[in-house]
């Protein structure tokens, strides 16, 4: 018996009971639609996270001090060491590192910020003049501080858009004086909004010369550099730039074994990798939840196939009497189950893809930060083969039952 004949028999059997066949197919259709849609949402979230991280600058490299060890050798936590110095920054900037554009030191300080009766909290970042270039900030108003400001510890700050909104409202901030931890600072510039969301807004920043931060804000902690930020020439050269920075710092710190380094590097690419693995896990969980409905659809197919086999016992008897072997009957009913599930799967893929495509045009979804679903070809292929496999799996038992019927008893069945 060839495949064409088997398909023709299956089509005949399914068309004999149109309503029942369509309802059974609906079970698989809904399951596949759910899988396609939820996996698309997971993919969409992944794409969205990637885009956000890319907006932070794909070519940025962070250098942190290693975990400081206490006297007993117990690690005191990430970034607690104080192994980085201004001389390290200068070395990266002056020594041969063709893939590094520039490196800047960062000294972080928290502190209450007040302007008139308004007060607000934002981290204050002490750094040098290359900050806008390395971190890719544009100025909306005023100007960034100069080398002279850094050398002379001038009390000047440049604010991010969020800070301006919270402190000044409609007042022009340029030339105004604000207080950070009760010290006065003059506002000389405002950054253009970077528009990123999540991961701590890129617009919630206060930037001042690093010498000023050391002198007025970090107090007793002294001239601490909490991290060095460097930018590579492009996203593609990040790995080479990391190697160059590592070589320079190991050499400067007199460490020969890279595993013993008293600093560590992290690039946006590393963060991207982590975020992607989280998004992949999310997609898998969503897919698995949707997969449950596919199993339910499969049980529906098994149920209907058992009913069909009972109803068509006499037909099975006739077929056996005129020469059908067990395998012929088995194949006939298996194909019937697989056509049901495969057709349901194909329709489910169509409906799921359509819904994923139309979702962004629903106003409620468009106005929220809900990710735009992205249907991947691999999930479509997978969904189709899984639905056919479900037909095979849940069709085996009923088909086998049909194949094992005794011809005489089947012929006598009323």
């Amino acid at each position: 018996m060839n495949l064409f004949e088997a398909l023709r028999m299956a089509a005949n059997g399914l068309l004999a009971n149109r309503l029942r066949s369509s309802l059974t197919m609906l079970g698989i259709l809904i399951g596949v639609t759910a899988v396609i849609l939820l996996v698309a949402v997971g993919n969409g979230a992944s794409v969205q996270i990637n885009a956000q991280i890319q907006s932070l600058g794909a070519n940025v490299i962070y250098v942190y001090p290693s975990n400081a060890k206490g006297t007993t050798g117990v690690s005191q936590g990430f970034g607690t060491g104080q192994s980085l110095t201004q001389a390290d920054v200068d070395a990266i900037n002056t020594q041969s590192a063709p893939d590094v554009v520039a490196a800047i030191p960062i000294a972080q300080s928290g502190g209450q910020i007040t302007y008139g009766s308004q007060n607000y909290f934002a981290p204050t970042t002490g750094t040098t003049t290359a900050f806008p270039q390395v971190r890719d900030y544009q100025l909306a108003e005023g100007s960034f501080f100069t080398d002279d400001d850094v050398n002379s510890r001038h009390r000047v700050v440049v604010l991010g858009q969020t800070v301006v909104d919270n402190l000044f409202g409609s007042t022009d901030p340029i030339g105004q004086t604000i207080k950070i931890s009760r010290q006065s600072f003059r506002v000389i510039g405002v950054f253009a909004s970077k528009g990123g969301t999540g991961f701590g807004s890129q617009d919630n920043v206060v930037v001042a010369p690093i010498t000023t931060v050391w002198a007025y804000l970090t107090g007793a902690r002294g001239k601490v550099i909490s991290q060095i930020v460097a930018s590579a020439t492009s996203a593609a050269t990040v790995t080479q730039a990391e190697t160059e920075i590592t070589t320079i710092l190991l050499d400067r710190h007199g460490i020969s074994d890279p595993n013993q380094a008293d600093f560590q590097l992290q690039s946006q690419q590393d963060i991207l990798t982590q975020a992607t693995s989280i998004a992949t896990a999310l997609t898998l969980v969503l897919g698995a939840i949707a997969g449950i409905s596919l199993v339910v659809g499969g049980i529906g197919i098994m149920n209907i196939m058992l009913v069909t086999v009972t109803e068509r016992t006499r037909e099975i008897g006739i077929r056996k009497a005129i020469g059908a072997r067990r395998r012929d009957i088995l194949v006939q009913f298996l194909i019937e189950a697989m056509v049901l599930s495969g057709l349901g799967g194909a329709l489910g893929i169509a409906v799921g893809t359509l819904l994923a495509h139309e979702a962004p045009s629903v106003p409620a979804i468009a106005s929220s930060s809900f990710p735009t679903p992205v249907v991947s070809p691999s999930s479509v292929l997978l969904a189709f083969f899984v639905s056919v496999a479900i037909g095979l799996f849940f069709g085996i038992y009923p088909a086998n039952r049909a194949a094992r019927l005794h011809p005489i008893e089947a012929l006598r069945y009323e």
């Binding site: 060839n2 005949n12 006499r314 056996k320 009497a321 005129i322 020469g323 072997r325 012929d328």
Partner: protein, 224 residues
């Protein structure tokens, strides 16, 4: 063509053993037209099932066209039914919602043979149903359905045609029509036919009558 030697069949109903056939010796030669008669419970249905390879005997030897079929597997029996036996049933047993033509093609599909449509068309023509071959069973009269069933039985050129009460569900004029068709097939095409019936009128079309009672052959004579 058919040789049965000391065939017995015993059914087990719980602890009770019910003998249906108690030693049947029968030979049917090529081109014969045999009617097997008997009251209900005489064992004629059991005998038909064994001759039709739908069932295997408890003991004894059954040679069909030279093959001992008493101890074949299910799939081997299916192959014998497909190639060597053509069934005609009392209740026609055509597959529903399937055209007469496709019904007749069915044994050829299971045999995996080619030029099915041509051969099925020829077989339907031979039973006088050429103009109705695209009709479904429900659109055919009883007599027409039985003709289609006969065409299906003959399409694989089997060694024997096995007809189990072929006129049981037909009115008298259709019955005569069908019996004439069978008789013609026997005389003109030398088909070997085994007919199971309990009606004297029907058995008269055969050229040899075998009568069963309580699982034994009690009469075996050539018709005049």
């Amino acid at each position: 063509m058919i040789t049965l030697e000391r065939i017995t069949k015993t059914y087990r109903m719980g602890k009770l053993e019910v003998p249906a056939l108690q030693g049947i010796d029968l030979h049917v030669g090529e081109g014969e037209f045999v009617a097997i008669m008997g009251a209900s419970g005489s064992g004629k249905s059991t005998l038909m099932n064994i001759i039709g390879c739908l069932d295997v005997p408890t003991s004894g030897r059954y040679l069909l066209d030279g093959t001992d079929v008493a101890k074949l597997s299910d799939d081997q029996l299916a192959r014998i039914r497909n190639r060597k036996i053509g069934f005609v049933f009392q209740s026609f047993n055509l597959i529903p919602r399937t055209s007469a033509l496709h019904n007749v093609e069915m044994p050829l599909i299971y045999a995996g043979e080619g030029s099915r449509t041509t051969r099925a068309t020829v077989a339907l023509g031979a039973v006088g149903l050429a103009d109705r071959m695209h009709h479904q069973p429900t659109e055919l009269s009883g007599g027409q359905q039985q003709r289609a069933a006969i065409a299906r039985a003959l399409v694989t050129h089997p060694a024997i045609l096995l007809a189990d009460e072929p006129t049981g569900n037909l009115d008298s004029s259709s019955s005569v029509e069908i019996m004439r068709l069978l008789a013609t097939l026997n005389t003109e095409q030398a088909r070997t036919i085994v007919l199971i019936t309990h009606e004297q009128d029907i058995a008269r079309f055969a050229r040899r009558v075998v009568e069963l009672r309580d699982g034994r052959i009690v009469r075996d004579e050539k018709a005049v």
